[in-house]
């Protein structure tokens, strides 16, 4: 626990009377209540505005589930089939809403089942709070039944974590956990609560508004990057000389290129980013996580950068003389070879995480801060520029697709976007993920839900169900036959809750992305990647009472997808694809980003 600063009581005592939110409390006209830890946890989740918990019960969280039962009028729960997918669901929920996702699991195996979900959220900076039960403290350290040191295990994959040893600290710990999860560069926070702490009673003092922000961690350096009020004025003064230099770099540039990532979406800086692109008159390229921050309908968008980036994006990167990188971390999958990356460019890097500066790419100038805050300060200083020739050059590198009669992935995605251009699309990991990123034109932020950093096969169905729960409208899951095998256990969940998840299964009979590497780099020795085995996905969907169709033509797909949309219920469309479909273009790992090994 971070040592606490005693929270000042306000004179009007308004911390203690919360009329609507705490009907129970108001009714009794008491300023505080004695509650058990489990009940305090639930009250604190309600304080934070949590509407839904994704989770799975067990012995070490029985008191929490009991309180959930009593408070089911105020807070919902989605029971998944497996904790990992509850974790991904909380993550998906957070990705589409920007709100903090909440996941609950029991001790030991329940907690360790969360590990992949936590690491996935960590790599993609999603605001999530994971709550686990643990054995009573008297048993801790004795290898007792279902005991696991989950705070130790998750230390490297959480933004922060806690083990609560004293019930009097529980409420503030939960508040702090939410604050840390959503502030600065967001990320997962885990709170481990031993069973004795869930049972122990203490005074619970409800709080609202500013009091929800824990004083000490609020002043931690990583939390200060979206300053307001007086802090904003101080920040402006400090950033002033650097902003002036940034303007200079932009004014001098003849071939500027903007490269944006998930940070823009996390910060809500999409409008500012577009304004920047228009003022600078620059083409723009996106990381996987940035897709949708600027609508791909905009002619400035050259597409995604990187290993499976577009020709236009990758070539423009090598030709630009100024790279303005906003909310992006220069992942190795986007860079190709760091030494030959953007060789002609000065690099202006805007990011909230100081540790990302100069980590993979050496910058000419950086502005540390929240993307929206920084751009708001920068935009008024910029004059309108025109780079007509450069814009034309950059756009002319966009590739033309051949048109043939094959039933191939890009046609599925184009058809999907024709019918439902605004629909939220979650993916698993593999070729189908890259095809989705390349060929479905994302036109709004938070439209694509994908595991970019960790590349987690099995992420998709959980994430899609979290998204569907949050949005209350149909969501597409683009998955592969390999990935789907990792999470199809959750079909029972989407069927039970009737989450309108339209599963578009790209069935190529293989772990296609790995096969592609075997084709290109391992002499076509297809070691353990051919999925010549069950199940019959149609029978499977049937077993869960889920609508289904198997298609092998664009027309068949169009019909099935339209039907699924109109049903607003779970649906599985199995698209039969050739085993040798490839993701192109492709740059071999470690190669310069404009030297394509597949076109």
């Amino acid at each position: 626990m971070v040592p606490r600063v005693i929270r000042p009581k306000r004179e009007d005592g308004c911390f203690f009377t919360i009329p609507v939110l705490y009907g129970l409390i108001n009714e009794k006209r008491v300023s505080s209540l004695k509650l058990c830890g489990a009940a305090i946890l639930i009250e604190c989740l309600i304080e934070q505005g949590t509407e839904t918990i994704f989770g799975f019960p067990g012995g070490a969280v029985l008191p929490i589930y009991d309180e959930l039962y009593k408070r089911s009028d105020r807070i919902g729960h989605v029971l998944t089939a497996h904790e990992q997918h509850a974790g991904h669901a909380a993550d998906g929920y957070a990705r589409v809403t920007g709100k903090t996702g909440v996941c609950l699991a029991t001790s030991g195996p329940g907690a360790t089942n969360l590990v992949t979900a936590i690491a996935t959220a960590y790599m993609d900076s999603t605001p999530t709070v994971f709550i686990t039960g643990n054995v009573p403290q008297t048993l801790m350290g004795t290898d007792s039944f279902q005991e696991a040191d989950i705070s130790g295990i998750t230390m490297p994959i959480t933004k922060h974590n806690y083990m609560v040893t004293d019930v009097t600290k529980l409420a503030d710990t939960i508040r702090e956990a939410f604050f840390i999860a959503r502030t600065g560069r967001p990320g997962p926070v885990l709170v481990d609560i031993p069973k004795d702490v869930q049972i122990a009673e203490t005074e619970y003092v409800p709080v609202t508004g500013d009091a929800l922000i824990p004083p000490l961690s609020a002043s931690h350096p990583t939390m200060q990057l979206r300053p307001v009020g007086a802090a904003l004025e101080r920040y402006k003064l400090k950033i002033e000389p650097f902003a002036a230099r940034a303007v200079e770099l932009i004014q001098q540039s003849e071939r500027p290129l903007i490269y944006y990532g998930g940070g823009v979406i996390l910060s809500g800086a999409e409008r500012q980013l577009l304004e920047l692109a228009n003022l600078v008159d620059a083409p723009v390229v996106s990381s996987l996580m940035g897709l949708g921050a600027i609508s791909e309908a905009d002619p400035r968008v050259l597409g995604m950068l990187g290993m499976h980036g577009t020709h236009a994006a990758n070539i423009a990167m090598q030709r630009c003389d100024l790279l303005i990188a906003v909310g992006v971390r220069f992942s190795d999958r986007a860079l190709g070879n760091a030494a030959t990356f953007a060789p002609n460019a000065k690099v202006l890097h805007i990011d909230i995480d100081r540790a990302e500066i100069n980590k993979n790419v050496t910058t000419t100038l950086h502005l540390t801060g929240d993307a929206r805050t920084v751009l708001d300060l920068l935009l008024p200083r910029l004059e309108q520029k025109t780079h007509a020739t450069w814009m034309r050059q950059a756009q002319s590198m966009a590739e033309e697709y051949l048109n043939n009669d094959l039933f191939e992935p890009r046609k599925i995605l184009k058809t999907m976007s024709e019918i439902a251009p605004e629909i939220t699309v979650a993916t698993d990991v593999g070729q189908h993920q890259m095809w989705t990123a390349q060929h479905f034109p994302f036109i709004r932020p938070r439209q694509l839900v994908t595991s970019g950093g960790l590349g987690t096969m099995g992420f998709g169905l959980g994430a899609a169900m979290g998204a569907a729960k949050a949005l209350g409208e149909p969501v597409v899951l683009a998955t592969g036959d390999g990935s789907f095998r990792m999470n199809l256990t959750e079909l029972s969940t989407i069927a039970y809750y009737q989450f309108p998840v339209i599963i578009v299964l790209f069935n190529n009979g293989t772990l296609g992305m790995v096969r592609q590497w075997q084709t290109l780099f391992f002499g076509k020795r297809y070691s353990q990647t051919t999925l010549d085995r069950g199940p019959d996905f149609m029978k499977l969907a049937d077993a869960y009472g889920i609508g289904h169709a198997r298609v092998n033509t664009v027309e068949g797909f169009r019909a099935a997808f339209s039907e699924a949309l109109s049903l607003r219920a779970p649906y599985l469309i199995e698209c039969m694809l050739d085993i040798d479909e490839m993701v192109a273009p492709m740059v071999a790992p470690g190669s310069p980003i404009d030297s394509f090994c597949l076109n």
Binding site: P3, M163, Q224, R354
Partner: protein, 174 residues
């Protein structure tokens, strides 16, 4: 600078004094591929704050990355990479030497020269403590090796900046 082109840096880290903080900090070092040469930790004048002193190998850009990563730990309140020219460094080392009565005389001369202290004597052994910076300590150890060292135990380096420079736990304002 050593053969891999790496320098030795002494880094001070002020952290919240709470369980698990040491593994958070040391875990970060190993996770990010840094080799810790020594690590010393203890409470400060403020009971809620501990100070960790770490000696680590790296180069200027890797150390900058390390500092930025350290700041991302919620328990970390301040990080400082000490400037060797303006810093006093000390470690305490306890050494047990196999020494017969006949050898003791020569040993005592070394003890005097290095201002070490004898803390225990038996017929077959002599135990001493020495305080100093890394160079002084290794110079002494080298000489003692002739007599046969049976045990060495070290505290790890601690460091204090000279003069009025103070490393306090006031949070960094970005």
């Amino acid at each position: 600078m050593n053969k891999n082109g790496q320098n030795r840096y002494t880094v001070g880290v002020l952290v919240s004094n709470e369980p698990g903080v040491l593994s958070r900090v040391s875990g970060l070092f190993s996770r990010r591929g840094f080799n810790i040469e020594s690590l010393a930790v203890g409470p400060t004048q403020d009971q809620s704050v501990s100070r960790i002193t770490i000696v680590v190998l790296g180069n200027d850009s890797s150390i900058e990355q390390l500092v930025q990563q350290l700041y991302k730990l919620i328990v970390v309140r301040k990080v400082r990479v000490y400037d060797p020219a303006n810093t006093v460094e000390r470690q305490l080392v306890m050494i047990k030497v196999a020494a017969t009565a006949a050898e003791r005389e020569g040993l005592m001369r070394i003890v005097e020269i290095f201002k070490a202290k004898v803390v225990d004597v038996t017929r077959e052994s002599l135990s001493l403590t020495i305080t100093g910076d890394a160079d002084k300590v290794s110079a002494m150890i080298e000489l003692l090796e002739d007599y046969g060292i049976t045990e060495i135990v070290r505290t790890g380096t601690v460091a204090l900046q000279r003069g009025n420079q103070i490393m306090n736990s006031e949070l960094f304002d970005l």
